[in-house]
């Protein structure tokens, strides 16, 4: 077990430093890239907080859906192969629920302000 502050808290502190202290001193392209860098750290922070539990749920859903064991990547590759060859499709019970849950988690980490994500959350 690591000491405090947590990885997410450290990343958050660096993002705050970039936004509040570094960016005001920068101009043009460098300022733009600094903002992109701070946004990237926000993604890391959200992933550190959300991914552990979400990945475990995704793995459990995939094992049920595919009826087999494996790592998260192996299971995802198998799901891709079965969708491609038509043995699993939109009509397969549990597939759309699984894809929705997985995708909403990705967006919650990557781009929680995206219009399509916000609308999907309202609709769910």
């Amino acid at each position: 077990m690591q000491d405090q502050p947590s990885a997410a808290e450290l990343v958050e502190a660096v993002a705050e430093f970039i936004r509040n202290h570094a960016m005001p001193q920068l101009q043009g392209h460098t300022a733009f890239h600094a903002r992109v860098a701070a946004n990237a750290l926000d993604i890391v922070k959200r992933e550190l907080e959300i991914a552990p539990a979400a990945n475990a749920s995704e793995e459990a859903r995939l094992k049920t859906l595919l009826g087999r064991d494996g790592t998260l990547e192996e299971l995802n590759r198998d799901l891709c192969a079965r969708i491609e060859n038509g043995t699993i499709g939109l009509e397969t019970p549990g597939l759309t629920d699984h894809l929705w849950a997985t995708t909403l988690t990705k967006l919650a980490i990557d781009q929680p302000n995206y219009s399509g994500y916000k609308r999907a959350v309202e609709e769910s």
């Binding site: 891709c80 969708i83 939109l90 995708t103 990557d110 609308r119």
Partner: protein, 334 residues
């Protein structure tokens, strides 16, 4: 970099004097941002009566674009010319570069005053009176564009839905990371592809915010013809509806500024074929998937070391935006 020290300045000055008899020189030469695959330069030809605002569009370093899908700049110039004669708003092409010009491949066209940045077009007061008209105008423009005489066209690739799918499936597979939502979209597109017999026309291929020069009066010019090809005309109507081009205005499906109904009405009123909304939706799905695959390709450039910028890296984390859009299109809830 000032015009004095820019290596393009000398050759461009000579071209200007040769093409514009009244020219006394060039001024304000500067590279415009945007346009990763082509260089775009802004400059003025000076005359005793005033200055002529122009654009130089040129292959990077003057050489040809290596991407298989982009048309040569000479073809782009020819298409803009043909579009102009079909009453599509475009800048007038003033000169296609010749080897003697010493500027490589490219062409010079009028610089049209206006705005291409979507967030300004969709939010600024200046465009408030234009916005309600844009969707219908886009439909009218596309109808004229799709009626360009096929016999007059320069050599172009023919790319119906099936070959677009094949191309992007190969790109996606090369990337290698598993995307179950993309797989489902590829499957749906394969199973629902328009019949082979679908009538083909000239297709712009990148008709969306960013490539439309807009003023308070509406669409002033259709730019960036490098992805033009022969294909299903519904492709252009579907592409501009992709949510990524709505820039947050999710309830205005056409470019974030208008309704499909307005665009379709303009299209049919201006002589376009009867719109097939299901096929437009098909191309919206394909377009959403295309943009998603393109986002994942950014990761390849980042990981290989070609481009280590944080900007490039984070675009990879935007492919999930297209996944939620694909699910809303193909497996809607509620």
């Amino acid at each position: 970099m000032g015009a004095e020290t820019n290596p393009l300045a000398g050759p461009l000055d000579s071209v200007a004097r040769a093409r514009f008899p009244e020219a006394t020189g060039i001024a304000n030469l500067k590279r415009l941002s945007g346009g990763a695959s082509q260089e775009t330069w802004s400059f003025d030809v000076s005359t005793a009566e005033g200055s002529i605002p122009l654009i130089l569009r040129r292959a990077p370093g003057g050489s040809r674009d290596a991407r298989a899908t982009a048309v040569p700049l000479e073809t782009e110039a020819r298409l803009i010319d043909l579009a102009s004669h079909a009453d599509v708003p475009v800048p007038i092409v003033r000169h296609v570069l010749a080897p003697d010009d010493g500027l490589g491949h490219g062409f010079i066209m009028d610089r049209i005053d206006g705005e291409t940045i979507a967030r300004k077009i969709l939010r600024d007061e200046e465009f408030a009176s234009a916005r309600p008209k844009l969707a219908r105008q886009c439909g009218e423009i596309l109808a004229r564009l799709h009626r360009v005489d096929m016999a007059s066209l320069p050599p172009l690739r023919t790319s119906p839905a099936r070959s677009e799918i094949k191309q992007y499936l190969e790109t996606y597979k090369t990337h290698g990371h598993p995307h179950p939502v993309f797989e489902m979209a590829f499957r749906w597109l394969h199973d629902n592809a328009p019949p082979e017999a679908t009538a083909h026309t000239l297709v712009h291929g990148d008709f969306r915010n960013g490539n439309l020069m807009i003023g308070p009066d509406g669409v002033r010019a259709v730019l960036d013809w490098e992805l033009a090809h022969i294909g299903d005309p519904m492709e252009d109507l579907g592409w501009i509806c992709v949510n990524s081009w709505r820039f947050g205005n999710i309830d205005q499906p056409v470019g974030g500024f208008g309704s499909r109904e307005d665009m379709f009405a303009g299209y049919e009123a201006a002589g376009g074929t009867r719109v097939d909304p299901a096929r437009v939706k098909y191309w919206e799905v394909l377009g959403t998937l295309k943009w998603g695959v393109m986002c994942t390709i950014m990761v390849t450039a980042f990981k290989s070391g070609t481009d280590r910028s944080v900007e490039r890296a984070t675009i990879g984390r935007r492919s999930s935006e297209t996944e939620v859009d694909l699910l809303r299109l193909l497996a809607p809830r509620g």
